[in-house]
Symmetry: C2
Subunit: 337 residues, 2 copies
């Protein structure tokens, strides 16, 4: 008979949950190659400079920066993957350049100012469990005037979406199951399938019109207070006659240089998580309506959306959408837990 | 701002975890249609009789039995999906025939003997979180002599498997990540990826030779004591030169009539979860070795396997494999939690 679960086992399971996350992020080529391309583009700025990597994970971005000529890289990571990051730095003979610090950015000691802050801080829907507040903290404490932040800008988008297949699979399915009527399940199925935002990959064909910009982040200037609650108005004009099933959210980030440098917006590397672009591990985030609404071509949907930290738990994100369509008003509210 | 999470929300989330499981099982056509075919095959036996459905879920098997002419069906379900099962029974106008009992089979009152017991009790690897003990309890308490049990027989198989892609994706991946050496991650990656049994779908090409039978269950006669620990010997002769990556387990169940009835093994419905058959939600269960072993063609792997309830938690399944190969002895031990 096998021995009971040991602390050793449990430590490994914890490590695995981390490892799985890091494996997924590393295998996301759109993400990792965008960062590599951006580092290469800013190589002249980075060479000979001091870099701070906020939430370094396995250390891949720190190593890219060291290989781009950074003089020193502070790689800060709160989770236990920091142990592996230090091993990887050693294995690549970069321990003279990269200093792995195991702790929260708010707690570590760095005794010099830095020229560059790099971080992969974006969460689902940009803001869910995002580390942007830690990047702001690091910027205000350590970044030299004129320093570089990668990425420099982020934009959150919203658009009405249609997804008949998803609705059919989750809800219409119960209409007839092997000849048995199960439509009494539909109400529960709707509540259960659509009460929380859904992280899933949709295609450009699901998007009913051009997206609206809900939020623009300038990492050089944004203040942490601005993240507590964001409200934006929208007006969509449906390009198709189709059932409206919900609202989709996605983001992109740009890797611009500091204001006044030559690296301008036109040539900047962009990492996009839009439905029409190659899928990433962020996918898209969809708020489904409990019941679809038939839209006519050119029909207007106007309203406002508020994203705010939950009172219950600051890691949760509340999403509140008010909208008018066809002379009627609606509210859709959801919490990403 | 949105209200905090209510008990109502929490109840829905609980329900959803159930709902998702039942949706997955219903959408498994191999599973559900095998049961329907078996019920139709035994329709002459079932017509006019009393049926007990152990763990009825949404009630689909109970309804199949009622539609096959059962006089009365007791549909017993411990989880809250019993509420929905009763709604579905009503919706199909079968509440005069089907009595949904919300409770554990060990706790409910049924005041008559039954002619038929039907249950979908099989777990991953047949025995993991299986409800077979509840079926045995029901049989011993309520089944009339000469009664029918569906399924009647189950067989658990084991075979050596090769899966270079899986090993490559999880372990070799760390050799070179965007030009960065991460081989220091391999040891952790092996432990983490392979410490627990893996439920996944493999194809017949991954199976290195004919499977051995590890366990045969006759639902008419098996006693609950026999489930606590099962040991079987095996001898495999590899049909290929290939790396051995682990051992795979799968099962099938048969729907035979009681001994002495006309429905014999040759015509019985079989529900198979083997890699060469159409995939089911049970998939296959693989115990991966931490390091692959090169096998020659016709090389012998012999040993024994023990499956036992964990002392730590009776729902956990311990798997202990001893085997000899190429003059060396090995032990592989794992717990399915």
């Amino acid at each position: 008979t096998a021995p009971p679960c040991t602390d050793f086992d449990i430590a490994y399971f914890k490590a695995y949950s981390h490892l799985g996350v890091h494996e997924e992020m590393l295998k996301d080529r759109v993400r990792t190659e965008s960062y590599r391309n951006a580092i290469r583009q800013h190589q002249d700025f980075i060479a000979g400079k001091v870099v701070l990597d906020v939430g370094c994970g396995t250390g891949v971005l720190s190593i890219f920066c060291a290989l781009a000529g950074a003089r020193r890289v502070y790689a800060v990571e709160a989770s236990d993957i920091a142990v592996q990051a230090a091993d990887i730095v050693n294995e690549n003979n970069l321990s003279d350049k990269i200093i792995v610090l195991h702790g929260r950015i708010e707690d570590v000691d760095i005794e010099e100012k830095v020229d560059v802050i790099i971080s992969e801080w974006m969460g689902y829907m940009l803001l869910y469990e995002s580390m942007l507040a830690s990047v702001i903290f690091a910027r205000d404490k350590w970044l030299k005037p004129g320093g570089l932040i990668l990425p420099s800008h982020a934009t959150l988008y919203m658009a009405p979406i249609t997804n008949p297949e998803r609705y059919h699979d989750s809800i219409d399915f119960w209409q007839d199951v092997y000849g048995i009527k199960m439509s009494s399940m539909k109400s529960l199925a709707k509540q259960c399938a659509f009460i929380e935002p859904s992280v899933e990959t949709i295609t450009g064909e699901s998007v009913l019109t051009w997206p609206c910009v809900i939020m623009q982040v300038d990492c050089y200037t944004i203040r942490v207070e601005e993240l507590q609650s964001i409200t934006a108005n929208f007006e969509f004009s449906s390009m198709l006659q189709a059932p409206l099933h919900g609202f989709g959210f996605w983001f992109d980030v740009e890797f611009n240089g500091p204001i006044g440098t030559e690296a301008n917006s036109d040539s900047a590397v962009v990492l996009s998580t839009a439905p029409e672009d190659y899928p990433t591990h962020w996918q898209q985030t969809i708020l489904y309506l409990f019941d679809p609404m038939e839209l006519k071509k050119d029909q207007i949907i106007e309203g406002s959306v508020t994203l705010s930290q939950s009172i219950e738990n600051v890691r949760f994100l509340n999403i509140h959408i008010q909208y008018c369509c066809g002379g009627r008003s609606f509210v859709k509210q959801s919490t990403m837990r």
